[in-house]
């Protein structure tokens, strides 16, 4: 295999800087909190800017299909920054999951046409599986019947704002206009990535040629790998914010950050993050290379990064003391994102179960 590069390239650093600048401007803690409490929790204005100005929807789409032909390394950098700001945009659902599924069946012209729209930012899509699905998990049972698609799928990420639904059904992959399904937003643990239930009762659809299972597997593998970078971003924000707070907060006549027990916990957290970042970078690199080691790399990264993000967010709340328990402080947005991310695309335990046979560790 190609020698993996676990660093950030200059191009990636530039991309990161652009995304971070935009998010600092448009999606700081107060802005995100205000948005998720509003009637429209997804920030579609920000999403359009990310797509149109920064091209985050087209990074890993080949140039022949209207994309930039960059790769998942760049996509992962965007995910990291979005994790850092928990901006409520449908990046994971549309630009990663739905796009990756369609890329897998891009021999089909309907798929190609949909991809072009997604890449251009002209439409937003959702892959209609529960966000909790993992590579290899049983698929929801949507059936293609005479009168159209029938079935219900719960807890679908970013479905509430999707124009197009990418639906694995019993006879293959279908494309459904959102208006043809009943999409019900549900009260979500993660305020910044709300999920919705999607119900089909005879929905009109276009069937795409190619294997639905293969498309979904590719999407879930890609999604899980990219999610690891998001988790690194979440964890890094939590660590940075906690360190900054403990430097300025005084108790007992000293900065709280001078207390050794807290210092040691943050040192341990930093250490975890060093390992998590290396694993996430490797996963992104192997996805980008289309390497056969990608499933191993992704499950290693997911198993590790999910836990590190939760640990970081929990420490962030605890070490902020009472203020971290308040609605006004953004820490809870990260805690909820980290916890939902732990479930998303496979829990750490699921990924270890996926990993074991791949590395010859029979149960």
């Amino acid at each position: 295999m190609s020698e993996p590069n676990l660093l950030y390239t200059d191009v990636e650093d530039d991309l990161r800087a652009s995304v971070r600048d935009l998010l600092a401007d448009r999606a700081d803690g107060a802005a995100v909190l205000g948005r998720v409490e509003s009637a429209e929790p997804h920030d579609l204005g920000l999403w359009r800017t990310l797509a149109a100005d920064l091209g985050v929807t087209s990074l890993h789409v080949p140039e022949s299909l209207g994309g930039q032909g960059a790769g998942y390394r760049e996509t992962a950098v965007v995910a990291e920054e979005l994790g850092r700001s928990v901006a409520p945009v449908p990046f994971l659902g549309s630009a990663v999951l739905a796009t990756a599924a369609l890329l897998r069946v891009s021999d089909d012209e309907h798929a190609r046409s949909a991809l072009a729209k997604l890449a251009a930012g002209d439409a937003t899509a959702a892959l209609v599986v529960p966000l909790s699905a993992w590579p290899g998990s049983p698929l929801p049972s949507v059936r293609a019947e005479g009168g159209g698609l029938v079935g219900t799928v719960r807890s679908v990420a970013d479905a509430a704002v999707a124009d197009l639904l990418v639906v694995p059904a019993d006879d293959g992959l279908h494309l459904v206009e959102a208006g043809a399904a009943r999409v019900t937003p549900v009260v979500s643990l993660d305020l910044t990535r709300p999920v919705a239930d999607v119900e089909f009762s005879g929905a009109a659809s276009v069937r795409v040629s190619g294997s639905a299972a293969a498309a979904v597997d590719a999407a879930l593998l890609t999604g899980a790998g990219v999610l690891a970078s998001e988790q690194v971003g979440v964890a890094q924000w939590c660590l940075d914010t906690t360190v900054a707070y403990l430097k300025e907060r005084y108790q007992f006549g000293r900065p709280v950050g001078s207390f050794q027990a807290l210092k040691h916990r943050l040192a341990d957290l930093w250490q975890e993050l060093v390992l998590a970042r290396a694993a996430a970078r490797y996963a992104a690199d192997r996805l980008a290379a289309g390497d056969q080691d990608a499933p191993i790399a992704v499950s290693v990264a997911q198993s590790l990064c999910a836990a590190v993000a939760v640990h970081a967010a929990e420490e962030c709340v605890q070490l902020h003391g009472g203020i971290g328990m308040t609605w006004e402080h953004p820490a809870h947005l990260y805690l909820k994102r980290a916890k939902a991310d732990e479930i998303a695309l496979g829990t750490p335990g699921r990924h270890r179960a996926v990993l074991a046979p791949l590395v010859d560790l029979p149960g």
């Binding site: 007992f252 027990a261 709340v317 820490a331 732990e342 829990t347």
Partner: protein
Amino acid sequence: MSEELRERVAALLAAHDPATTDRLEFLRARFDAGLAWVHFPVGLGGLGAARGDQRIVDEELAKAGAPDNNPRRIGIGLGMAAPTILAFGADEQKRRFLRPLWTGEEVWCQLFSEPGAGSDLAALGTRARRDGDDWVVTGQKVWTSTAHTARWAILVARTDPDVPKHAGMTYFVCDMTDPGVEVRPLRQITGEAEFNEVFLTEVRIPDAHRLGAVGDGWRVAQTTLMNERVAIGGRPVPREGGMIGVVADAWRANPERRTPEAHDRLVKLWVESEALRLAGTRLRQQLAAGSPGPEGSAMKLAFARLAQTLSGFEVELLAEDGLRYDDWTLRRPELVDFTGREAGYRYLRAKGNSIEGGTSEILRNIIAERILGLPSEPRVDKDVPWKDLPK
């Protein structure tokens, strides 16, 4: 003693049939009969009996269908204000405050924590200035539960900023109906607002409502906090009582969500929950035997960690359902209801268990120094006037 107590209960019941007596009237009569808290002095709701004998009274009255004073609803009054008033109050204060406190006619709250003084309570900056027979109090308090329903508050304020922080505080009873008291709900990460912020602006407190000497507020507050710690984890729990029961039932109800990995984690949590329960039994047996141990601190630490781990496990176990939440509406619950709501709520609310009532970090300091006898850290704030401390 137990025979005498049973006779007194019988006499109370004979004179005030619970089936026909107004609830409040019955509670007042019970207080006056010395059956409210039997270890309190005669005339103040008690009989000077052993604390452990209360169980006999409570059982007899429960058997007879008598109303209780809804102790969880007035926990701050019962658990914190009452023992402090008993220990430091003047006779008149005891007579004035304890009866309506116990019957629940007057709800109490606690004005200790401030935004800048959490773990370091002695750093608090709410100022009380003497003005004739009154004190004039200005400052901001936080994390005050039941402030919006309370008639009275126990309050610690700074009366002398020119001496080291522990020496310049005084303890008061504050009238929550004073026009200078403003209560605002404080929304927390669960969406609800159990607590309040309380803004005090030129609140006038008569000197007659001071508890303990001027400058002795730290010592008085320690009595309050010690009683808070005693109150935690004190009740008997059946096996699988509390959060483990909810999680074990979720496991039993969801065979399709089980994995070998999750199984071992669950059993491990079951083991720890059972051990915590047994430690509680052991602690109560020590108390009953007259040799209370310091194990309560261990139980608070373990309880917080377990509640957090269990609820985190449950959310993860529920997978696509764990991604959902029951209700983000801003509500004002009277009590924490861990088992009446869903997994996500438990997960978020349990985060407070290692912060409220003393953070787990402070508790570890206390265990290390007071129980294990390890030396304290170098102190930089001991001899510095409060006003010169970095904040």
